[in-house]
Subunit: 351 residues, 4 copies
């Protein structure tokens, strides 16, 4: 039984971490960090936890916390962890960071897209990008894991095998992503009010969303070259779920023909057949966010459009689970040598 601390435990991702860790056999939460609610009972903020979590919220003192726990999850605003991290902390505890602070290897890129100065660039190289299915072995040895973004996880896993196998021209990649509203966080903003979101849909952050460089960097590694893509996020009137619809031009084979369904399917299977949490759906079945709700699954599939020579790839996940807290726990399992699926065997809830 290890001890864990959660900083940012009263945000939606932090609360999902708490939900998942409650049913994890190897972990006990010792610290519910929430700057806004210090000293208030956690279950007063999240009433679903009434009679389940008995603790009070604590502050975000990482130094003190590092003394007490084996792992810290930081579900915090951009810049928080980079602002406080030091070797002393990292020598005492492992960290899974759900913010973007250590996801991007190039500091200039980070600072350009996030518009803040990076305060701890010295830890960037060490940080492991925690996309478990891609970086499993590195995660196992990591002290500091940068947990991928929600859009990013979905976007990358949906296209990864085809980029890696060179079946598509990575520079033609266009990602049209749709997210439930929990991705916008729990801040009290007019634009996230029920009446503004319900019966509504919109794109936002067009050509400027911060998950773009993260996707480009990771898929660039797979492509073996730097790539530029289009990524457009949309807000959908639902609580949970991300659906990524991705378009790319298929590379023609030597004989000028397009890859076949079976050839593309084989690429997906090569990377995902043994992956518990990535499900390549049967031919003709489109992923739906509801089929993964509450679970750590990513469902993916594809359709080849012979007319245009493009492939349409689709991926669906729960943004708070595989897109945040679930993947964070999966990373923790790897870091501590637990069964990778421990605490994550929730069956998707339908309806």
């Amino acid at each position: 039984m290890i001890k864990a601390g959660v900083i940012g435990a009263t945000g939606y991702a932090g609360a999902e971490l708490v939900r998942i860790l409650m049913n994890h056999k190897e972990v006990e939460i010792k610290w519910y960090g929430s700057r806004s609610y210090v000293e208030q009972p956690y279950a007063d903020i999240y009433r679903n936890m009434f009679e389940i979590v008995d603790a009070k919220c604590m502050d975000d003192n990482m130094e003190e916390l590092a003394e007490q726990v084996d792992v810290i999850f930081t579900a915090t605003p951009q810049g928080f962890l980079a602002g406080v991290l030091n070797e002393s902390i990292l020598s005492k505890t492992k960290i899974v960071d759900l913010s973007a602070d250590f996801r991007i290897k190039d500091v200039a890129t980070y600072e350009k897209w996030y518009k803040i100065e990076h305060k701890s660039p010295q830890f960037i190289e060490e940080a492991v990008y925690g996309l478990c299915e891609v970086n499993r072995d590195l995660v196992k040895k990591a002290r500091l894991v940068a947990n991928p973004g929600c859009y990013t996880t979905c976007s990358i896993l949906t296209a990864y095998p085809l980029v890696k196998e060179g079946l598509i021209d990575a520079d033609t990649l266009i990602i049209d992503a749709k997210s439930g509203t929990s991705g916008a966080g729990r801040g009290a903003k007019t634009q996230n009010l029920f009446c503004e979101v319900n019966e509504n849909m919109k794109a936002y952050g067009v050509a400027t969303h911060r998950h773009t460089p993260e996707i480009e960097e990771q898929l660039g590694y797979a492509a073996g070259k730097q790539i530029l893509i289009n990524f457009t996020p949309h807000l959908v009137p639902m609580n949970r779920g991300i659906l990524a619809t991705e378009y790319a031009t298929l590379k023609k084979k030597a004989d000028g023909s397009l890859p076949t369904y079976d050839e593309v399917k084989a690429a997906y299977d090569k990377y995902y057949a043994k992956e518990k949490f990535v499900r390549v759906l049967p031919k003709g079945v489109c992923p739906e966010t509801k089929w993964v709700e509450g679970s750590n699954y990513v469902d993916v599939n594809f359709v080849i459009d012979e007319r245009t020579g493009r492939i349409v790839m689709m991926g669906a996940l729960d943004n708070l689970v595989k897109g945040a807290a679930g993947q964070a726990v999966q990373n923790m399992n790897l870091m501590f040598g637990f069964k990778e699926t421990e605490g994550l065997e929730m069956v998707p809830m339908f309806p």
Copy 2:
């Protein structure tokens, strides 16, 4: 490890049973009965079960099923179980019936409200009404459990302590209940289409809903007399959740005053303080369906209105869990001597 069969496994309640039993350590599902989908892979009907459930749907042959399993869950239309049940079946297997067939002790009452003939009245007396918190000891010894209705479970548990303790005049009880749409089942009816339910709210079955006599019978036992109540169900644009708002006149004490908050709270605590799945919320906190979603909890609370001398009681549960499949598993746990909470420790999912 016992073996279970589910008849009606492709309805919403049946599918929820499957979801819950997947994470139950003592049970293995051997039979996914679904007359409409015989021979089709179960995961083709419920895609959330892809790579989780590998079985095909089977028919609803109770005779054959009884040979193979230790317990049968019937999540079937009214009249099905009463139409096929016999001593041979019951001698081989235990049954938890999620339909209304054996909930009502008086055949005439059943036939009047359900407008069908009861084909197996000989088993009515034996059947135990499976409201675990009230009938725990009887359930433990039962072969045949009548699992309570969703509205009923919520309505009864919300008022039970006050009726039992005589704090309210049971004949003044008015139950205004609101349900998510999964309670209407998965049948393809125009009235349950997204566009008809979304952004809409209505009462239905006013003064004629079939859960009325079930509530009256059970609360009548608690009151020690026959009672008549008003029960009005409403359809709400959400998938899951029942909220019951209940009104009753408080009985005045000998000195003519109303019972105090503490006195009423003590009545709730008397019956629920030790109950894992019933949470009496802190003073002033109203139950919300979202706080129990996906879990087996019922949250209850109350407000005394000094001006009118009435009490307003409120209860919330997930209609597919504590209102159906979760309670069915809780009953099974009692019937087989498992830990009562086994498979039911899901933390409510929020948001």
Copy 3:
């Protein structure tokens, strides 16, 4: 063509006023008051008004505004109008107040429920309670109309004929009301975020909601005596719509029997047969909020429960139209001698 000013034009009720007045032949809006957005183009706040409303938001200077317009609508927080009203203003312009400042005749009652001091008690007597169907003749002559609350309009109109005709015992009245979330206003509060409201339902303000004394006062006039009722509001995951489900004990006739359907129906028809905006639905049809969405209609109906001797009354309206802005325009039409339905003939939008 008269000139109108709207104070609070960027709240939901104010914006609905703007929407309705855009299609009103006799009115031109000259002043879009919004303290929070002074000098910003109105269509920047409400993008639906792009290329429709060209004006900028102005402040809430009632003195100045009174010089310029024939009528002022105040869709403002409690206390605003009472804080600034004076005879000079009222001598220059008519006012329809959508706040509660002048709805309640007894200052002490107002101050008790609203917990603020009333700054202009001298205008309370003059103010006409603008429930058009009840007070039409008084409204026609009024300078100052107190536009009824959304819950109140629905609650009163649903029960009014039966109270007025003495068919029910008014003290047994219990009103269980459900509202869409626009009723909570556009303020950025965590509790009104999409993720908190969606897939959720709750009661709030139990026994303490401010519309209670307003209902009691108005139905008390109809009953010819002071009455006390229970009123419980609920928040529903939809944008618009209020559904009131009301319970009362029917008075028995001289022979001890209950009033018949026809007798009750006759009471409704007596008051509503000629009312354009109140629709008494056919027997057996329950009101649904979606059937009145976007329109000024109130749909009402009832079911007699012979078993309990109670009647269940139901009413549905759009809280922003008949529950706020529509009724305000209806009042203005009466005050200025326009056709009562002018600008209000919107057909309900379905789905």
Copy 4:
């Protein structure tokens, strides 16, 4: 005052026609055709029309109907109008067909995508594609107008100026469209049940949706050549609204640079500045479906992505209004010489 008949008046598009025509000064509906509900009062099917529409549903006898009215709207399944149309009918009445029967000029293309035989190819050439903003002059003279599809209207109008002006490479066009559920019609299908759609999102008909060739044909005319595009529709948990997000590669200018914002904006303004129903939003403002709900507006805008050399175009409309019934009325207005905006000046409803 002309007389109109609506065939398919009880589908969602038909009902929206009825809603709009109720407030149209020049038209009276004489025939509410609905094969499924013949002889039933129309207001029994659409309760929002209670006390507004007094008529009963009639059959779909076009011959008889043509004798009685000046214009027929056919909001019918594919193949209906082509199956019954003849010169006799067309000589007596004008027709606005909301189905796809006469939208596509090439019969083979129609039969390939719709998988039914076209029974009246002789009228295809005469039929005018009723995209008012593009074909206004032809519509004015037409007897038979093929009203565009909902996805199609949104998709075409969003990209039209750039295709027409040659600013983008039309063959790179990728349209990712999202629709509310009313687009799926009122048929009682499991997949359209509230619980299946709510809290869910999916793509469907990937690479095979029938609106694809319609978009390709019309944008091909604008491009002056045949084009092939990708079109992916998605189902969103809302009643109304289509959002199209469209991607294309910008053609570089002679100096190798990309077109500027102002140059692209000028292209949009060239075609839409005088169009009442197409609103080009201010720079940086993304269209949202809620801002056009209930109205005949299409909101469009764009973002140039300098990094990838692509443009992201966005368009939003109400699928039942500008995407169906509103545009049908706009076409009728043109055909009969009424004011083009008559009956269509509804202000979008928010929230």
